[in-house]
Amino acid sequence: MGLESYLNGEGFFTTRVNDLLKWSRTNSLWPMPMATSCCGIELMSFAGPRFDVARFGSEVFRMSPRQSDLMIVAGTITYKMAKVVRKIYDQMPEPKWVIAMGACASSGGMFRSYSVVQGIDQFVPVDVFVSGCPPRPDSLIKALLDIQAKLKKEPISKYY
């Protein structure tokens, strides 16, 4: 079980720096909750004890963009709010990822209207879109796992 089984009774093991950094990074994504409407409730459930995202190392929700590396945009984004979302995204340190959670953030959803941005990918780069209105917390965990899979594929040198 776990790391000990690789040690074979010895005090050390060897690995590559690339793998070590990736391993630590994938299991400590700190999300920035950009919750603007009802998806935010599912987002709380995602962090709560029932779905418990701590199992995947992302339980540290940071209210400051400067301390986080994953922005979860949960909810309807209006044109007025778009400037704020972009500002918060710009304040996050590199490397950073974005999840568009739910129909509204992904495509405007049911609000096909003059005031709602029809998809946040018009102004921030999005890594994973989550379907649903609102999505179940399971779907959001799947999106987090997709981000982790994406991270594992990319060489760490891309960010340094």
């Binding site: 044109y79 007025k80 778009a82 400037k83």
Partner: protein
């Protein structure tokens, strides 16, 4: 109750009440545009009426040549426990109307909303700016000739990269 109200108003503003609508147990007075301040002042300060709570002000776009817009005031009297509605017809050529902020302070944001959505200008309003849409927006979104999805590029988005 209805008789009291109608008589009181008719007694004072006989010539300025264009229409009295009593439908579905709701009483609506259509008032001449230039008398709105006097009527509101009377309704609020008369000892027997005391309409002290302005519930809402909203605009309506009837989308016709004459008197295209309407402004609707919903008011409530805590003394009478009664609710009435005032309606003002506003023509597209003259979109100006007296503000009632001097009578009910809560009219401030309602009138800003009506201005933002329909472009009806309230005279003597303390701070008539847009309330929902960005300052630089040029259109009035609840007008019937405004497309639902909006006008492309009228609201700027931040650059993607």
């Amino acid at each position: 109750m209805k008789e009291l109200l109608i008589n009181k108003l008719k007694e004072k503003f006989q010539d300025f009440i264009e229409e009295i609508i009593d439908y579905s147990n709701e009483l609506t007075f259509v008032i001449s545009k230039n008398k709105i301040l006097d009527v509101c002042y009377f309704l609020k300060n008369n000892e027997d009426l005391k309409f002290d709570y302005l519930v809402d002000i909203c605009g309506v776009d009837r989308f016709k040549k004459e008197n295209r817009f309407e402004v609707v005031y919903n008011i409530w009297s805590e003394k009478l426990k009664y609710r009435i509605r005032l309606r003002i017809k506003v023509d597209e050529k003259d979109l100006q109307l007296d503000s009632v902020t001097s009578i009910w302070k809560s009219a401030d944001w309602y009138e800003r909303e009506t201005y933002d959505m329909f472009g009806i200008v309230f005279l003597n309003h303390p701070d008539l700016r847009r309330i929902y849409m960005p300052e630089e927006f040029e259109y009035f979104p609840l007008r019937k000739d405004f497309p639902l999805i909006g006008i492309p590029d009228s609201l700027p988005l931040p650059r993607r990269n």
